[in-house]
Symmetry: C2
Subunit: 233 residues, 2 copies
Amino acid sequence: MENRDTFGWQDIHAEVLRRIRSGEWAAGSTIPNEVDLAYEFDCARATVGRALRALAEDGVLDRRRRAGTRVVAEPVRRAVFAIPVIRQEVEAAGAPYRAVLLERSQAPATEAVAARMALPPGTPLLHLRTLHMAGDRAHCYEDRWADPVLAKGLGDAPLDRISANEWLVRNAPYTDGEIAFSSAAAGPGEAELLGIPEGAPLFVLDRVTRQEGRTVTAVRLVYPPGYRMTAPL
Amino acid sequence: MENRDTFGWQDIHAEVLRRIRSGEWAAGSTIPNEVDLAYEFDCARATVGRALRALAEDGVLDRRRRAGTRVVAEPVRRAVFAIPVIRQEVEAAGAPYRAVLLERSQAPATEAVAARMALPPGTPLLHLRTLHMAGDRAHCYEDRWADPVLAKGLGDAPLDRISANEWLVRNAPYTDGEIAFSSAAAGPGEAELLGIPEGAPLFVLDRVTRQEGRTVTAVRLVYPPGYRMTAPL
DNA sequence: GAGTGGTCTAGACCACGGG
DNA sequence: CCGTGGTCTAGACCACTCG
């Protein structure tokens, strides 16, 4: 439709990507510098910079002062997963969401939990176990441990309206953390709660969040077989 | 060390994030516009824009023309996973890497594969099965199907030096695709190849890549129990 | 219609780090 | 040292969309 005679940064982004994909600019090679590209595309240097910065953030280019901009040799494939809010995940599937609070207690950290949270074993912690229901079917099982100091108030919060996760997001912000996916065989308790055979292959999501180096909460979400966590590439 | 009297975009980024985390700017509320913030921080509007854009890319802010910039109410947690190159993954663990090509053949697409690749069942495809070894231990099992036209040459390529994955990265670029994680019980074949009991909980990575809407390759990587895919939060 | 963010410019200075 | 990318500025125009 349009006959453009100028280039925006997205056009440059696309053109550079095309040259890389086509092999015109080989993996590992240095591409022209910003000034030269600005001349070629007849635009300001900042516009080229904007395009190249985006490609660098995508992991396609490696940019260094003085050394120039290189095409990354082995592009590490990165996938950005949107970790769903369980309530929304269930409702998006068209099922009514309900959470069943199985346990909320003060308990000393077990060996395993202490290791995950980088605390001495026996440290008093808040322990919450929740079953997330999609209609009358179990969607996933949540086993959460939280620091009673950093998450002060969680022990008494009304968790019928908002989940422990939502409470923590609002009241105990984190500065960093990790997430991990893995698989595990269903134990007797998990099997009964989720309504699946013992030993069934579970999908496990472990998440630890910290505030200034101190662990706020460690949560394990366990999904029955068939659950898929997907992301665009 | 330094006593700064000006603000860079990263300083503004940090300060805005602090105001959000502290509740000074509540979730869901609209924050001041770029012009006002530029006045407050005594800098150019573009500098504020740079900081706010970064926060929007992080999923913390929602920016709309005319409507202004709002603090996202339920920040969708995003995790960026670096999908490892298997050779590097193994060598990083200190084990010698070796790939065993179990099968390389032309075969018609099965129902399941046809569905995954959005092709009619029976379409002739390239089928490669590889066992990735870490020392004398199986690290993961790869089951790959590829379009023989888009991946022309893969059928004859010497896969002892570079893997099918590396060959495809170099010779059959993709424009888009998806990746998915899930769990599954080990079948008899997988169990024997990986040296684990039948029915053991596998960690499964499915990846499909396309070029201009046409599927280039569909690959399934199967890891034995204990494997973890981690990412910073 | 008007206010907001999105983009671009032409120029400037700075910070890093390869040679 | 000095070329490169990183950042900032002051201004301008545009695109979107809410009221």
